[in-house]
């Protein structure tokens, strides 16, 4: 089985380094982009099997990129794991269901995680997405 390719989009280079190192350790192939604009270019060029997407970025936000992906028939099946440091100050963990509803992120992202990143959770989320795909091939 050829390894899955994961695109990491984040404007923080250190976060990108961390995620790519982590994912490579898990045996995935990785590529990276530093904002939404470059992210879209990379999605088209690299055809990743999954995208780890940061929300708050200059130029084009993760939310905007997500909407574009879901509208595009070629890209809408690519699973997305949203990773963000965004969160209301009063709630220690962001209420993602409400966020998805407010921003009309439909169909919703396949996974979501908050920074600081829980390594095990990330690995588990991604593995589960690929497992599900294997059972129900698109």
């Amino acid at each position: 089985m050829s390894s899955k390719k994961i695109l990491v989009i984040d404007d923080e280079p250190d976060v990108v380094t961390f995620l790519t190192l982590l994912l490579e350790e898990e045996g995935y192939e990785t590529c990276a982009a530093k904002d939404g604009v470059e992210g879209m270019e990379m999605i088209r060029k690299e055809c990743p099997d999954l995208v780890c997407l940061d929300l708050m970025m200059p130029e084009k936000t993760g939310v905007k990129l997500f909407h574009e992906m879901r509208k595009d028939p070629d890209l809408k099946k690519i699973p997305v794991v949203m990773i963000t440091a965004f969160g209301p100050p009063l709630y220690p963990r962001i209420d993602f269901k409400r966020f998805i509803h407010q921003r009309a992120l439909i169909p919703p992202p396949e996974g979501y995680l908050e920074k600081p990143i829980d390594r095990e959770a990330l690995v588990k989320v991604i593995a589960r997405i690929f497992e599900r795909e294997a059972i129900q091939p698109s």
Binding site: D11, D14, V15, F18, L21, M56, P58, E59, F86
Partner: protein
Amino acid sequence: MELGREEYQVLFENVPAFIAVVDRNYIIVQANRNFKKTFGAEVGQPCYWAYKGLLEKCPKCLVEKTFGQGKQQVSEESGRTRKGEAIPYLVYTAPIFDKKGKIPYVIEMSVDLREKKRLEGELRASQDFLNNLIENSIDGIIAINASGKVIVFNRSAEQILGYQASEALGSQKLEKFFPRNFSKKISEALEGKEEKSLPQWVAQETYLRSRKGERIPVRFSGRMLRQENSPVGAVGFFQDLRPLKGLEREKLQAERLAAVGQTLAGLAHGIKNMITGLEGGVFAIKKGEKEQEHSLQQKGLEMIERNVEKISTLLKDFLSYSKERVPELQWIRPNELLEAVCTLFQEKARQSQIQLALETDSKLGVAFLDPKGIDVCLTNLLSNALDACLADPEKEHHQIILRTRRHEDESLSFEVADNGIGMTEEVRKKLFTCFFSTKGGGGTGLGLFVTQKIIQEMGGSISVETEPKRGSLFRITIPQEEYPPPPEDESTSSQSY
């Protein structure tokens, strides 16, 4: 037409003056009705008795003088009426010649000055009243006359500015007491150089300088005084805004604390990212250790260093925003300040092959600024400009120009222009927002936010012109006209900062 004797008689009796004819023995030989009625005088009485109730002739006798010189005389005298009241009058005496050219009689014609004296008294009272108003006004009032000398300097002006009225009165150094533009206009107007429509100064917020050199915030109204279109002086009214400014400052501080609360979310976002960076560093070191890969360990170490540095910068910026900072204004040479900042970055620019150029306005002179604040702002802008050039891979040659400029309204601007990567409209709009950064790992998102705050505290503004791929120009503009000119001894000396 010649008047007949009867007509002369009518005139003599009814003219609104006191008329008497006296002989060489000062005896009244003729007197009109008005004189008799007011003074109770009779023909046959000596004039000194009739006018003043004296028993012998007046020490300075006008009638005697008239007999002696044969010429008309005039004098202001004080007499006594029939009822014994004092009566001031103005008397004219004239010789009456006989056919031989001798002077047998002198005629005395007097005008009643009681009304005039009463009016003078009223005038004095009303002047005292106005003086009282001026002296006791809670506004400072300073007026000057047509020759540009201070003639009114009231008690509040003394209290607000710290001068004694005695040292201010008569002074022609208007720039000591008035805002610079106003004193300039006054001088021009008094020298006749003024334009036709002189702008009035109405309730402008500005600063005056006290005797001790302290800046006093005031609301100032001023205007030229004219009579028949020519200037006869000027007056300035000013209200001490120090108590009010204190309240405003408290309000600003409260608002700032509220903003700090609101931006905690942003702060949390930044810190979460930095913790992720730290975790990434630890992960890289461990992985490098396991795989015996030194470069990975090195990379992990750099990530940790970078994020620790970022956390400390974020904290510093954040504290400098939430802390109230009073701008420490002083007279400095803006060009020297800009040169100092430029020198600081010269080496870094050279290493990155970016040309740093200075275009300073040679006629700029001195300006009233907060050097520490300006230094922080220029450092922020210049380091942004360097980043913008470094982020632009397309051009071969990168250049940053630092400019100073003095504008017609005396305001001052600093410009930092680069031909780096430029910004999209999207980015430009969010530029001064707290925690907005395009630099990924490089920025805290507070630099421009803090810069804007410092500039606003100095009453200035910051603007930006930018185009993607072409470059950006940041311009700080700080008004100056409201500040009084530097004390003479400081204007020539160079300031250190």
